[in-house]
Subunit: 451 residues, 2 copies
Amino acid sequence: MEKYDVIVVGGSAAGLTAAQTARRHYPDKQVLVIRKEEKVLIPCGIPYIFGSLESPLDDLIPDGVYEKMKIDLRIERVIDVDRKEKIIKTDKGSFGYDKLIIGTGSYPAMPPTPGHDKDGVYAIIKEIPYLTEMQKRLKSAKNVVVIGGGFIGIEISDEIKKSGVENVSVVEIEEHCLSQSYDDDFCVEMEEQLRSRGIVIYTGSKIVSIDGGEQVESVTLADGKKIVADIVILGIGAVANADLAKKIGLRIGLTGGIVVDRAMRTSDANIFACGDCAEKVSFFGGNSSALRLASIATLEARVAGANVFGIKRETPGTIGVWGTAVGNLALGTAGLTEKMAKAHGYKVISAVNESINRHPGKLSGAANVKIKLVFGANSGILLGGQVRGDASVGEIMNAISACVQNRMTAEQIAMFQSGTHPMITASPIAYGIVNAAEAAISKMVEAKDRS
Amino acid sequence: MEKYDVIVVGGSAAGLTAAQTARRHYPDKQVLVIRKEEKVLIPCGIPYIFGSLESPLDDLIPDGVYEKMKIDLRIERVIDVDRKEKIIKTDKGSFGYDKLIIGTGSYPAMPPTPGHDKDGVYAIIKEIPYLTEMQKRLKSAKNVVVIGGGFIGIEISDEIKKSGVENVSVVEIEEHCLSQSYDDDFCVEMEEQLRSRGIVIYTGSKIVSIDGGEQVESVTLADGKKIVADIVILGIGAVANADLAKKIGLRIGLTGGIVVDRAMRTSDANIFACGDCAEKVSFFGGNSSALRLASIATLEARVAGANVFGIKRETPGTIGVWGTAVGNLALGTAGLTEKMAKAHGYKVISAVNESINRHPGKLSGAANVKIKLVFGANSGILLGGQVRGDASVGEIMNAISACVQNRMTAEQIAMFQSGTHPMITASPIAYGIVNAAEAAISKMVEAKDRS
């Protein structure tokens, strides 16, 4: 039986990153990844299979890194783990391990709605044959209903519309699409963008049944309205795939994920877990967090991979940083929105800045970028930021994430040393992150003058 | 005689930002800006006047903010200051002040080269009539030589070439263009980009004379080579305009700027200075810095403006963050290059990461982005970062700047919580800042194993 120093179960964002990190930190150790998929999909790229890309095969995580980094790879199904003997059993054989990292990911959440098992109802299952069949069915579809107006829901609806489907509707149970991650004004801008691209949106709307015979024919909303549907797509979130962990008796947490400490150790000191399959705590207050994102998975994997032979890193908890884009409109968020911060019990001061991301604004490629920063009113510390604009949103949200992660105050952000250039950023006078912080400080000054 | 609580001399990046900051922090105070220009040019936009824009009038800092923020504006020339009586004298009258902020900017540096005063030799003087005339002359020029391959030199040469001038040459005294701000491999990529766009580059070349009669006809290099020139443009840097400060007896520093403390106070406690006219210290070690950038000016202005009625802020010194772009190639830098860090006396560990800024890479708009991070080998602290790529470089350099400013270690950056999205960033597995930090940590691990 082959024996490895480190075995990683799962080859997506968490598993691959954990293996790479272990390799980097322990160059002399033998590292093996066992995954069940012949080829692995880029999870966040799945919506784009249905419009911008040709097929699921255009959306793969490249495997070249395995050879390059001397990480062994087996395509096998893990059946069981003998924790006492430290042996992994797969459908094809057994491997001894010293340290084990579990990165088994998530399943799409399924609603309790009657009819969700009808033919023509799809969830976003990260498997190539499933998505290939779904893509084929969509080519002849006329009426598609997407349940859930989160980022997967809106991205997939736009891609399907772009690909030529006549009627695409999104049904969202909350007051606004994306309301878990953005304050209302940002959500409204995205809804307007979707509507302008021909997508019908129902917000504050619950689906009570998915109707039809064997094949789906329509969905019914709580207010009685029926929407015709050849295809229904479920985009209501993800739940941890902790099947293996449960089977082998690891502790499971409140949200159904594998319980881990800040070093990503499970209840077995030789087994680590990371990514969607692991329980998460928030960066803000340390409470349980249900957020599941590939970027969080890679952070946790960098912690787990570095720690297998002695703790080097501890996660400070999940900030929650991610973007979404529809056409030329992108949104980004890092940390808490104003709504979320208040729900967390913070007293907040927030401020918004809008500026053009070229200077002068007549230069080509100029777009208006809106930045909202939310500060704790008592501490002055940045709790989160939201951005609306063009593709530059991606790295602006990362600059904001760096500020959140360092728990910078408004005063410290006002002293941010930005770099600027006419062709690629806003002017230094108008630089958004700094000016939003200064606007928040103005409010703090006013509040102090008043008291 | 009118009396103001705060008078700012100068209306460019430093002056305008200082006035805005004073207004925000002291809403009840009267703030006046006195500037000599009817309209103020965006300094970094000047190269684009000669190609991408139509005229200098397309490159103006908008004046709307004065009314919006209730800042008074006078277009007058400041002649003198009576520091004892606290009175400013202009060519049109006098104003009393309580606090004074000087933001008089810089002059272009002039080389000692014989012939630099010939007709047809231009410096980048930030005045509309001057630049308008220069633009007119360039329209009929066939041979332009740009002296200095810094960012202004390369940007202006590309714009002039784009506008249709047949022969454009850049002469740079150092081994590479941009070598003050980038390590050689980055400089070489920009040189290749310039050459591919038809610009002739002479590096390691000193100009010994600018030749001709009254009108410039050619330049002569140290190796004897002559380059024909109808127009010569000097882009060799900027020197502080401290004329007023000298006249009124403020202390002047090593690089010719007004001496200020970390609160931006001059040797007169009621007078502050900021921007190109002020002396600067480096964020790294606190030594004198000759770097003059609009982004530094605005940082200093946010310090000066906030401090006029009591110290609230102190600058940690100049990081030096800026970008440049030629066609679809952009470079960004924050902090020290490897070369500079070594010259500063640091033992360094650096690492490079290249990745595609979309995922999958087949999505439209994908570009390869290279990131180099330079860490102090003893401390593990980030000293600087360089980026090469498309327009996304602008905000990536700002994310790196946030890491520098917070003196983050490689380990902390490896724990960076990036936000990602297929259409606007690299994948979370490949995210550049994080992976460059991890690559540096690998080197640190290896170095430790060896010792």
